[in-house]
């Protein structure tokens, strides 16, 4: 079973529907036993860094998530706000985050481009990874974001995207994968990446 971790992070239903459409069993949950039983975890979300961290701390999910990722080493996929709160700190709400990856999250610099970025943009695969299997380089994915991640260790970056600047749009390290774009809303290429994650053996 794949646990979709419920931290009040927006449209969880669409992630569940996508997982089910691909033929996998999923469950939206914040129950520690259910999360512990799951083979793999998805950490989705839409929202703000501060509010998301507040919910994780209030519901005691912070330590549980870290334990599942670091000690149990389960395959873990973070999406959208999920990628941002994996890092040490976000400029949004001046929030201290999970620190599973070292680095910062910053707002897009002011320019004539609209913030948030809303729409389909290209993801360039800067490092090979099993999650990209069958996904053409430069495929378009659906983004909604005002902030972006800046990892300290550039070797974790697997995908990059241009929006005024070139920014990190996908990272991977050991059992962890994270994307700024919404796999569940990115049509066939998004579903393919989600399927690759669901079948990924580390």
């Amino acid at each position: 079973m794949i646990a979709i971790i419920d931290y009040e992070g927006g449209n969880l239903t669409s992630v569940l529907r996508a997982v089910q459409h691909l033929g996998f069993e999923g469950e939206i949950t914040r129950d520690p036993d259910a999360i512990d039983r799951a083979e793999r975890l998805i950490f989705p979300g839409v929202g703000a860094a501060g509010a998301s961290m507040d919910v994780l701390n209030r519901t005691n999910l912070t330590d549980l998530v870290k334990e599942q990722v670091v000690i149990q080493k389960k395959p873990f996929l973070a999406i959208c706000i999920g990628i941002q709160i994996l890092f040490d700190h976000s400029e949004e709400d001046d929030a201290d985050c999970l620190g599973l990856l070292s680095g910062q999250v910053k707002r897009f610099p002011s320019s004539e481009l609209k913030i948030p970025q809303i729409g389909w943009n290209q993801v360039y695969q800067v490092r090979p990874h099993p999650v990209f299997q069958g996904v053409p380089d430069g495929s378009d994915f659906y983004f909604v974001n005002s902030y972006y991640s800046i990892p300290d260790d550039s070797s974790v970056v697997i995908g990059e995207t241009d929006y005024g600047i070139r920014f990190t749009s996908a990272v991977a390290k050991d059992n962890l994968i994270a994307t700024q774009f919404h796999l569940e809303k990115s049509g066939p290429v998004g579903l393919r990446m989600l399927k690759n994650f669901c079948e990924w053996s580390i």
Partner: protein, 261 residues
């Protein structure tokens, strides 16, 4: 680079897609979930369902449509029409829609924009507006006036001012529907669309008048739109979304590449 979005609009009444001309004379043309799926497979970037039903029973039918759609398509889709209260917005989002769009209800009660944005995030709240060209006056300096109730009632509000206000209140995108162009298939209202796009910092979605691929080219270039809504030109088989995107791509407009699954 962000690509331009093509967004089919499905007007839904009592669980069936209908299409009217100049907001009148509606005829039934199909099942909303099946049509959404077809457009998804053909390369649409997003789908809009516009609920034109009146009764609350029929509104429950719409929630069922939204929830069935969540199992079939994996791109964003939004629902508009008749959403008046915070609870209306919440029900639609929980059923699986990515975004809600408010129109007349927001003109009458602008707080609904702020409440929705605060609870669900600006990216969920689309402000849709029906606009008609009028003689410029002191109250309506742009010469574009806001109408409500399906284009029947003039509100004496300047459309450009209303767009800016909507953005301040937290709307994440604007749909600008020209009543003059709607249903004509003679092309989008380019001047209105460009003025909106130059007045706000959120994406502008052009609506009303799209009848041929060159109309989309015009609205994405001269009109400066981020996205455009299409209806009749694809519903009755004159063009496919794939054909429209191919036309735009050939002329240098950035569009999403679609691959078969």
């Amino acid at each position: 680079m962000l690509t331009k979005r093509i967004i089919p609009c499905l007007d839904v009444r009592a669980g069936k897609v209908t299409k009217g001309v100049e907001f009148k004379n509606n005829i039934d043309i199909g099942d909303p979930v099946a049509m959404a799926k077809k457009y998804y497979e053909d390369g649409a970037e997003e789908i809009v369902f516009y609920d034109i039903t009146a009764s609350s029973d029929e509104r429950d039918i719409m929630i069922d449509v939204v929830s069935r759609t969540a199992k079939e398509i994996f791109i964003p889709y939004s629902v508009g029409g008749g959403l008046r209260t915070f609870d209306d917005l919440r029900r639609v989002l929980l059923a699986g829609a990515e975004k809600v769009s408010v129109n007349s209800s927001a003109v009458l009660n602008p707080d609904i924009i702020a409440e929705g944005a605060k609870a669900f995030g600006s990216q969920c709240v689309v402000l849709s507006m029906d606009v008609k060209q009028v003689n410029p006056t002191e109250n309506i300096p742009s010469g574009y006036e806001i109408y409500i109730n399906g284009g029947r009632k003039a509100m004496g509000i300047d459309a450009i001012e209303w767009a800016k206000r909507g953005e301040e209140l937290g709307a994440g995108e604007l749909v600008v529907n020209s009543i003059d162009a709607d249903g004509t298939q003679d092309g989008f209202e380019l001047n209105l669309t460009r003025r909106m796009a130059e007045s706000v910092g959120v994406p502008v979605i052009a609506s009303g008048g799209g009848g041929a691929p060159e109309h989309l080219y015009d609205v994405f270039t001269e009109g400066k739109a981020d996205a455009a809504i299409v209806a009749s030109m694809i519903h009755f088989g004159a063009y496919t979304i794939a054909e429209i995107k191919h036309y735009l791509h050939e002329r240098g407009v950035p569009v999403r590449k679609t691959f078969s699954s």
